[in-house]
Symmetry: C2
Subunit: 291 residues, 2 copies
Amino acid sequence: MPAAIIAIIPFMRIATLTIVGVGLIGGSIGLAARRRGAAERIRGVGWRQTTLDQALAMGAIDEGFLDLERAVKAADVTVFCTPVDRIVEQIHVAARHCSPGALLTDAGSTKAVIVRSVEGRLPEGVAFVGAHPLAGSEKRGPEYADANLFQGRLTVLTKTAHTAPAALERALAFWQALGSRVRVMSPEEHDRALALTSHLPHLMASALAGGLPSELFDLTATGFRDTTRVAAGDPALWAAIFSQNQSAVLHALGTLDERLHRFRAALETGDQATLLNLLDQAKKVRDALGN
Amino acid sequence: MPAAIIAIIPFMRIATLTIVGVGLIGGSIGLAARRRGAAERIRGVGWRQTTLDQALAMGAIDEGFLDLERAVKAADVTVFCTPVDRIVEQIHVAARHCSPGALLTDAGSTKAVIVRSVEGRLPEGVAFVGAHPLAGSEKRGPEYADANLFQGRLTVLTKTAHTAPAALERALAFWQALGSRVRVMSPEEHDRALALTSHLPHLMASALAGGLPSELFDLTATGFRDTTRVAAGDPALWAAIFSQNQSAVLHALGTLDERLHRFRAALETGDQATLLNLLDQAKKVRDALGN
């Protein structure tokens, strides 16, 4: 479906784009929109003036606002790049102050709770389409923003029975204008998938890192560092993601447990064939993913 | 202790160095020894002429041998960079053919089985000191060799009641001459530590990668790729490592299980404080490790 939609959408140029949260993701959206000429004016909303000043100095935004209500007035598109447990409340505040015809979208790592809490509850003429660009890192702050962050990366957009087709098309054009590929899924399908591809790996990395005694720090090499890199992510952000995606994460953890039990059984019994088979299966997947 | 030893050892220059297995690690030893002037002649032993030709073309070795027995004749130092389940047998073959005064060392990822199977069983005048340079990657082959692979990285040397002090000093000088820092541990201490810092992360990465259905490949981002990178390692090499370090790996898996259960319980009960605490502990460790 998305491919068909892409073909008929003309290039999007936004008069005023408002970015709520100008950290790594929000700052990258600003830089990408500017570099690609996707927006005429870029507003940024932050909670600290120093962050706004940084984003301004980098050219990620044209104007900084400490006040969400003022920043969304007359914005054509507003994108929320704040922690997942803040997005719903901010969308509702913004929706009361933005102009008819405004499109709201977000960059939250979970989708079902957010979409469910927003859809069907917005003022007439204001539309929301949930989004999740699969890009970023364990770093935070506008200093890590990158105009090419979304280049060729996938952004998931959510579609439900309530999603207005015109709003979905605009959201699609917006995220494509930043350089990303787009895939449309239901919020629940997104959350189940990301539980396996992102939330479970984070949990595993945290369990591995958290279990390392300090006297062994010196005995880690690139393997341990790669495997646990995401565990440097912000604990509050990730606690909120886990809570919002609780059931899918627990289910993913269950399937991992099963696989770990197969490894354990093969190790305990010295079953080299099964061990080799498990390792071989994993290598095939990892090789298929590329670097 | 090592610091005191380091201080009294003069720079080591080896007349003939033989490297058994000229892949990523063996090739890097050759390149490092040449770049640093640590050896006059470097011999490589391989099982395929093409690999030897590659190592020769890169300047990692001066002479290639398909025959281990010939290659270790008159070698002052021989280093085994072959899979951990091949090293013991190769050491015993080499020991029968090398000259009195020869030092044998290795680069195997496990130590207890190897050291136990070698120490006290070598001909008079031939010494073995187990080693494990904590460097490398999931890649294989001399094309990935790097003269700076060991630069500033840690190499663990093993010491037991059987280890001759003079042999330990020579092994120490050899691994330092390649650029690495050195730490001396018992083989068992090494294996327990590496179970946590390397073998368990590999097992986890493999369990994560192996459990990913192909329809979700497109929904992975850098987090999944980092977390599972090591799972691209050679299955046979890793099956051998797991088998040789079976009990320590099983014990490490047990401690990880406990930590996963704490995550699970916190998620199930919505205990945000515990979840935050677990994530925070992990972040502190990961931050301390650096990039």
